[in-house]
Structures are given as structure tokens and as C-alpha cells.
């Protein structure tokens, strides 16, 4: 077994910041990411050479991403960077199992930081499995990273400021954006806008997105939801309805729009599976997207030496992720070096102050955009709620009738969550639905029970403990059955 002082899983803003913080101060962290390049989802590196990567009003993101990459360039040889490397399990006490080119390897970490990010929340509605329905982030990365438009006529729907960002990027990329459909009603947004003044710069940025859409005559419909998508295999049109404060669609005022692509997402869900596998105590935080590990003020979990930062610890965006990653880097440094120089103390104070401000902004944002129960009304009994196992709502409700009201019991009774996505796509929505209907708290309904492997691997990948940490060849075919 290989030993390392610091292992960081996830090279997005949080993981990168932590790695840089440590490397810039003389340590040699191991930074692991399943993607071929660092940057996570938000700073996805572009394969385009003509510099068209930074598109639209999100160039602020582009700048921050560039900054991080510049810092990377300076300390490149001080970070043990393992890209194209997947962590498939965590065993014992901080023993990290990674998939390598010739088998797998166990790394015993002294400090393990999990910065695994988040994924988009889409709750089931009729037609959501049609071809041409995708997440806003999926469309964004296609454009930013590979310069490909997802479709010709796109509707962006769901909730959250991210929709505005993606709509702007789509529009700039020459896609016809027929509209942005936001579930939050304008009056409900304005009611909480005061809280957003905690970060005037971010509020200004948000306003710029909205203005850009207006200037390009892209309609922004507040207080509306997509109730269904129609098509024969491929999406042909969507139905939009006004909704109430709880995002429940109302029957009047519905309209149909023709599209060839629908980008739909209602916020994000933290990827906290590795925290779960590490034995961290978890808690349900609805406003932060779902199940996250319990942490102290230093972002250390209930397991000694396991730290979390970024969206994987609670969805709060890339700027918070960077600050949190830096904080964890500083704290690990303090624990390993046990030196507290005035410089470090000052830096830590600055980061904590920044985090406090950012979190005030985020709390206001979450108040506005947190998921409302009305979305439960979208699925009909024929709607597929488990995409992998192709289970309908009716089948799941039949099981609920016979006592299936927890994740474990539903899985056993209906196979909900038994597919390759391990319940990531279906469980957050089903859990909210069950909690709502039974009045149970989310911690009684249960998180997805996480079991290895956290990522797909073949039986053949598990036979041999490899002798080295050589990752897969970056560009070659990854045989990941």
C-alpha cells in the first residue's frame, strides 16, 4: 500500500485551491481527478485552440479559472497530479482505492480531502427521457469545452441563476434560445433580494446576465415550469405552465413551444458518496442540495483527517469552493507542520472573512431558489422516475403502499436505485416526494446507501493491486465497463 500525507479527490475549484495552497507552501499533495484535465465542471478546459473558451457574461469564471491554472503552472512539479484516475472506494480508515492503468492501488492517506463537486438536480416530468432533453450544465460544457451547439432551438428551464448563465452562453454561441423558464416567481425573488446585497459584485453579475438576455430578446419567464416534453423518441415541443409560490403548475395559461432541445435543471445535488464511504456522519441540508457530511468550523468531518470543501460539502458555487479549498489547505498545513506563522494566521482570517460574506450571499440565494414541493406534481403515474431501471411512478407508489417508504426498502422492493447511476438521478426527487407525502424527515427516509464501486469498473480492474500510481493514458480509450 502506498502512503501519502495529503490526498485530494477532485480537481475542481475547491480541490485545486487546496492543492495550490499546500504546494505553494512546500508540501506535496496528491491531487486526483477522474477527468483528463483539472478544472472540474466549471473550469472545464477547452479543447479548442482558438481561445473561444470564454464565452458570454461568464468571463469572470473564465478569469478565475485562468488564474488557478496559472498558479498550477508555477507549482506543477510540486503536485502529484493523477488525472484520468478514479477513486472507486474508501476502506478502513482513509484508505483510498484508485483505479490505475494496470489494476488498482490502495493509498493510505494521512489527510484526505474530498472535493467531489455536485451534479444537476432534475426532477421527473413526462417526456424527460426524450432525446434532446439534457441538463443546462451538459449543454454548457459541450459549448465551452468542445465548441458544439447542443441544438438549434433550445428552451432553458428549471430554477437558479445558472440558467441565466447557460442561456447567455447558448445565445452567444449562435443557438436560438426561445426562452428561459424560471420556476421562482419574480415577486418571490424580489422579496429576498436584500440578502443578495451582501455581495454587490455577484448581484451585479447576475443583473448583467438578465440584461444580456433582454438585449438579445430572449424572453425570461418567471414563475413558470415545464410540465411536459413531447416527441417521438426525439423532443419536438414542450408545454409550459405558470406556477404558484410552491412551483406547483396551474392549469390555466399553459402554452406549447416547439424546440429541438430542452436544457432543464433545478439546482445541484452534492456528490457526497466518498464522504459516506469514508464513514463520515452525514446530515440532510435541503438548502444546500441534499446529503452532506457534518463538518466543524475547519471543514473537517466527523472522521479525523477527512476534510471536505466545495459543492460536495454543500452546494455554494465556485467562489465559495475556492475559498473553502484554501481554508482546508491552510488547516491541513497547520496540522502537518504545526507551525502557525503570522502570515498564515492572517491569510486564514482573510479567507474566513471572505467565506462569511459569500455565505451570506449564498443563504439569500438559497432562500430564493431552494427546491419547492410543487415539482412533485409534475410526474404522472406513467412517468419514468428511475431512468436506469425504467420504473414508473405508479410502480414505486405501489411499493409505498406495501410499506416501501425508505430508500432501502424501495430499492429492495422495486429496484429503484439499482441501476448504474446508483440512485443519483432518481433518489433526490423520490426522497423529497416521500418525505412530503409521509411527513417523515429526510433523515428517516434515508440517503442513497452508498456502496463501492463509486465509479464503474470491470471485474478485471479489481484483480491486481498495481505497483504504481500510473493513471490511464490521457487520450486513449478508457475501457470502463
Amino acid at each position: 500500500m502506498i502512503r501519502r500525507d495529503v490526498v485530494i479527490v477532485g480537481a475542481g475549484p475547491a480541490g485545486l485551491s487546496a492543492a495550490l495552497t499546500l504546494a505553494e507552501r512546500g508540501l506535496r499533495p496528491t491531487l486526483i481527478d477522474e477527468n483528463p484535465a483539472v478544472g472540474g465542471q466549471i473550469y472545464r478546459q477547452t479543447v479548442m485552440t482558438s481561445g473561444t473558451g470564454a464565452i458570454g457574461p461568464s468571463s469572470a469564471d473564465g478569469e478565475r479559472g485562468q488564474q488557478l491554472r496559472r498558479r498550477m503552472g508555477d507549482v506543477q512539479d510540486k503536485i502529484e497530479l493523477l488525472t484520468d484516475t478514479m477513486v472507486w472506494g474508501i476502506f478502513g480508515h482513509k484508505q483510498v482505492a484508485v483505479k490505475c492503468s494496470d489494476g488498482w492501488q490502495m493509498i493510505q492517506a494521512t489527510h484526505l480531502m474530498l472535493a467531489t463537486g455536485a451534479y444537476e438536480y432534475v426532477c421527473p416530468f413526462p417526456g424527460w427521457t426524450l432525446s434532446g432533453v439534457m441538463t443546462p450544465g451538459g449543454a454548457q460544457s459541450m459549448i465551452k469545452s468542445m465548441g458544439v451547439r447542443p441544438g438549434k432551438r433550445v428552451l432553458v428551464a428549471g430554477s437558479g441563476p445558472f440558467l441565466l448563465v447557460v442561456a447567455g452562453q447558448l445565445q452567444e454561441a449562435g443557438v436560438e434560445v426561445v426562452g428561459v423558464v424560471e420556476a421562482v416567481r419574480r415577486r418571490d425573488m424580489l422579496r429576498h433580494i436584500g440578502g443578495l446585497l451582501a455581495c454587490p459584485a455577484m448581484l451585479r453579475q447576475g443583473w448583467q446576465y438578465i440584461r444580456a438576455l433582454k438585449q438579445n430578446q430572449v424572453p425570461l419567464l418567471w414563475g413558470h415550469v415545464v410540465t411536459r416534453a413531447r416527441g417521438e423518441g426525439l423532443i419536438r415541443e414542450v408545454e409550459i405552465a405558470p406556477c404558484d409560490q410552491q412551483w406547483r403548475p396551474v392549469s390555466v395559461g399553459r402554452r406549447t413551444v416547439e424546440v429541438d432541445t430542452l436544457c432543464v435543471g433545478y439546482g445541484f445535488v452534492p456528490r457526497s458518496e466518498l464522504a459516506s464511504l469514508s464513514g463520515c456522519r452525514m446530515r440532510y441540508a435541503d438548502e444546500l442540495g441534499g446529503w452532506i457530511p457534518e463538518v466543524d468550523t475547519n471543514l473537517q468531518t466527523s472522521v479525523d483527517g477527512v476534510w471536505v470543501a466545495g459543492d460536495g460539502a454543500g452546494v455554494a458555487g465556485s467562489v465559495v469552493a475556492e475559498a473553502e479549498g484554501t481554508l482546508v489547505g491552510l488547516r491541513i498545513l497547520a496540522e502537518l507542520d504545526q507551525i502557525k506563522t503570522p502570515d498564515l494566521i492572517r491569510t486564514e482570517q482573510r479567507v474566513r472573512a471572505r467565506l462569511a460574506t459569500l455565505r451570506r450571499f449564498r443563504r439569500a440565494l438559497d432562500q430564493i431558489y431552494h427546491v419547492r414541493a410543487g415539482l412533485d406534481d409534475l410526474a404522472t403515474k406513467e412517468t419514468i422516475v428511475c431512468r436506469c431501471e425504467e420504473l414508473t411512478l405508479e410502480e414505486v407508489e405501489a411499493a409505498a403502499h406495501f410499506g416501501g417508504t425508505t430508500q432501502r426498502s424501495l430499492k429492495v422492493m422495486t429496484r429503484l436505485g439499482m441501476g448504474p447511476c446508483q440512485g443519483r438521478m432518481c433518489w433526490p426527487a423520490m426522497a423529497r416526494r416521500i418525505a412530503c407525502q409521509t411527513g417523515k424527515r429526510q433523515d428517516a427516509v434515508g440517503p442513497i446507501s452508498v456502496r463501492p464501486p463509486a465509479v464503474p469498473l470491470a471485474i478485471g480492474d479489481l484483480l491486481n493491486e498495481s505497483n504504481s500510481l500510473a493513471p490511464h493514458a490521457a487520450e486513449a480509450l478508457r475501457v470502463e465497463v
Binding site: 476502506f91 406495501f402 410499506g403 417508504t405 432501502r408 429492495v412 446507501s449 463501492p452 478485471g460 479489481l462
Partner: protein, 402 residues
């Protein structure tokens, strides 16, 4: 929700559900309580229906024996052969499955995925293993149902098997079922028949008044009854201990690996000295297992995963490229002599064991449900329950002292 019933069954796995199913047919008012704790054995079983295989130690028993002999440092010896009476019990229980599958489908709509196949095939890799099989056939009466095959013959049945073996032992007639669907079908049929089901409910302790068990105590509630059935699986010992009843059940962990779904690849169930493999109705291949005494720990270990994957690839090389969907663990209710613990106990009345299924719980469930129900209502049964009474342990202890 009632607070009184004729019978309260604690534990809604395959055994508790089978008892409930049989009792409602005898017009007994039943409350079935289940907590659904992680590690219940029903959900970690391959669902193999291998009465002969388990009875002569060629099913999961081979693994158990090997790990036991490795532990004790003993030389490899005969795999554990179960007492003849219990062999008959398992065969008889197994014969109930075809009709049960139809009944449960009619009653509850649940398909228990009872899959006749080519049988249970034990792969012989080493001379020692071939020797065991020959000795078994010679010494164990029921084992003349075990057919020895050459590599060519076994390949005709299972084309995806490795060619690197000395032969195989075929136990035709040994099939499989989906254990979770079985429990679900039994449970739903019991509910249709009038049983009340309390999910996500934990029984804190039994209620004992002198030498009578009068009911169960829940978090905010109690239910009084004539008889409590302890079908609490790996936790049955703890439940009994809550009122000072001795029940020698210890959890024995089994880890399993499940692959992604494949088209029909294995025609039978495979058993080797390293693992067993069963392809389930959704195409997923279940590979198991371990036998570990680690208390109630249901985590999985990298050693077990590696070892089972090696065993799987050795037996079926094409599995090398097949994806692993999930690895998890269950807790078998282990008993000192590997036999179940059923029926009443000398110390108290109003209490009935339906415990200790260990590695034969699934195949034994239909008959177990039946004779436990018969015992509770006082119906005569042609299957004796006496050999499985708990008092056999104190009897042996007493006689050991002599």
C-alpha cells in the same frame, strides 16, 4: 394500527414473511414488524435453491469450510455435511417452490423469479476437490444425485466456463429464486390475507411477565399478543436476550459482488472453492461470498472484493470485462451447528423461534414458515420440529458436562 393481535412476528425478511403467509391462511391475526436494518441476510443472498448442494457442503458450504479450515490451520477435510434429517427438510422445502411461485404471483402479483436452470455445478480445480466429491458420493446417501462430469461434458452445459478445470460435479434440479422478491411476495400475500405490516419499526424489547411473553414493546407503542415469533435474523439473539432468553445466534457476514446485466450467460449456478456465481433474472451475475465473524459490521473489504473477482474470472473468464455494479454485505444468522432454531423454548411460553437460517434460509423458508405456523396453531405436522428446538444446545451442554 392495532395494539393487540394473535401473533406478532418480529422480522420481515424471508422467514418472518413466510411465517406470516402461513399463519394468515390459518385465520390467525398477525402483525408483522420489520425495521429493515442494513445487512439483512435476505437481501444479500444469491437466492440459490440448493438443498442437496448445501446439505452435502458443495454450495456455499465449500467456501465456509475452506475459510474455517484456513482459520483453524487444520488440514483441508470433508466439507461440512449437514445431518440427514435436515437434508430431507431442505429437499422437501425446495419441492414447494414451483407451486409457491404460482400462488404468490396470483395472490400478490409478485414474480419471485423462480428459475429452473441447468442445476448447481461445482467446479473441480484440484485433485483434492475431486477426491471430496467421490468420497461424498460414496458416503452420503443423498449424494448419489451428484453427477461427475468431464470438462467436455460440463462445457456442453456451460460454454463460458474456463477450460482449465479437472471436471465438475452436477447437481441437476438445484435452481434459484430472487430472495428479495420471494420475501416481498410472501409479505404482500400475507397482507392481502389480513396481516398488518409495520415497516421501519423497531422492537425495543419483548414484554415478559414472569414466564410468559405477552407482547412486544416499540418506541412509542406496545402490541400485546398470544405468541411472539422471533424471526429477527442476525438480531434474533439480541431480541431474545432483551428478556433473558438464551438464543445462540451470531452474525456471520457475507459479502457479495453484483455485475451489470448481461444477456443469458450462465445456464446454471456455479460453485467453486473460492466463490459461487448465479445469474439472476435481470441478467446480473451475483458473486459471493465470504463468511466472517465481525459482529454487526456490514462494510465491505477490498480483500473480499478482490478475492471474489479472482474467483469469478477463474471460473468464467469472460467476466473479466464485465462491469461491477455494486458490492455489499449481509449478516447471516449463524448457529453453533448450522441448523435453524425453531419452535418454543423451555423457559417461557408465548414465544416461538423462527431463527438461525444461516446459509439455508432461502431454500428452507417455505417449509420453515409452514411448520412454525403449524406449531403455533397446534396443527400436527408430518415434519418434525423437535430437532430444531433451542433446547438441544443446553441438552448438549449438559451432556458435555457429564
Amino acid at each position: 394500527m392495532t395494539d393487540a393481535a394473535d401473533v406478532v412476528i418480529v422480522g420481515g425478511g424471508v422467514i418472518g414473511s413466510a411465517v406470516a403467509f402461513e399463519l394468515v391462511q390459518r385465520q390467525v391475526r398477525v402483525v408483522l414488524i420489520d425495521k429493515g436494518l442494513p445487512g439483512r441476510a435476505t437481501s444479500a443472498s444469491a437466492g440459490g435453491l440448493w438443498p442437496l448442494g448445501e446439505a452435502v457442503g458443495l454450495g456455499c458450504g465449500v467456501i465456509y469450510q475452506k475459510s474455517r479450515s484456513n482459520e483453524e490451520g487444520a488440514e483441508e477435510s470433508h466439507p461440512g455435511v449437514l445431518p440427514q434429517e435436515f437434508q430431507h427438510f431442505l429437499v422437501r422445502s425446495n419441492s414447494l417452490f414451483p407451486e409457491l411461485a404460482l400462488r404468490l404471483r396470483e395472490c400478490s402479483g409478485v414474480d419471485i423469479e423462480y428459475e429452473p436452470g441447468a442445476g448447481l455445478i461445482f467446479l473441480i480445480y484440484e485433485e483434492a476437490e475431486r477426491h471430496w466429491v467421490k468420497e461424498l458420493r460414496a458416503s452420503v446417501p443423498m449424494a448419489d444425485g451428484v453427477e461427475l462430469l468431464t470438462p467436455a461434458e460440463v462445457h456442453r452445459i456451460e460454454p463460458h466456463l474456463t477450460s482449465d478445470l479437472l471436471g465438475a460435479a452436477l447437481l441437476s434440479g438445484e435452481y434459484q429464486v430472487n430472495p428479495m422478491a420471494l420475501a416481498e411476495g410472501l409479505k404482500r400475500s400475507a397482507i392481502q390475507g389480513g396481516a398488518e405490516f409495520r415497516p421501519d419499526t423497531i422492537v425495543r424489547h419483548l414484554e415478559r411477565r414472569g414466564d410468559r411473553i405477552t407482547g412486544v414493546v416499540l418506541d412509542n407503542d406496545r402490541i400485546s399478543c398470544h405468541t411472539v415469533v422471533n424471526a429477527a435474523g442476525a438480531w434474533a439473539g439480541q431480541l431474545a436476550a432483551s428478556v433473558d432468553i438464551e438464543l445462540p445466534i451470531i452474525p456471520v457476514r457475507g459479502q457479495v459482488v453484483l455485475t451489470v446485466g448481461l444477456p443469458s450467460t450462465l445456464r446454471g449456478c456455479l460453485s467453486t472453492s473460492a466463490c459461487y456465481l448465479a445469474q439472476k433474472a435481470h441478467g446480473e451475475v451475483l458473486i459471493g461470498s465470504t463468511t466472517e465473524k465481525v459482529g454487526f459490521d456490514v462494510s465491505v473489504t477490498s480483500q473480499a472484493i478482490t478475492s471474489m473477482c479472482r474467483g469469478a474470472v477463474r471460473a468464467v473468464p469472460m467476466l473479466r470485462r464485465v462491469g461491477v455494479k455494486r458490492v455489499w454485505a449481509g449478516l447471516r444468522p449463524g448457529t453453533p451447528d448450522e441448523l435453524p432454531i425453531l419452535g418454543d423454548v423451555p423457559q417461557v411460553t408465548g414465544y416461538c423461534n423462527a431463527a438461525g437460517g444461516f446459509r439455508t434460509g432461502i431454500v428452507a423458508s417455505p417449509l420453515t414458515g409452514r411448520i412454525v405456523a403449524q406449531s403455533i396453531v397446534g396443527e400436527t405436522s408430518d415434519v418434525p420440529l423437535d430437532p430444531y428446538l433451542c433446547k438441544r444446545f443446553s441438552n448438549r451442554a449438559d451432556s458435555a458436562d457429564l
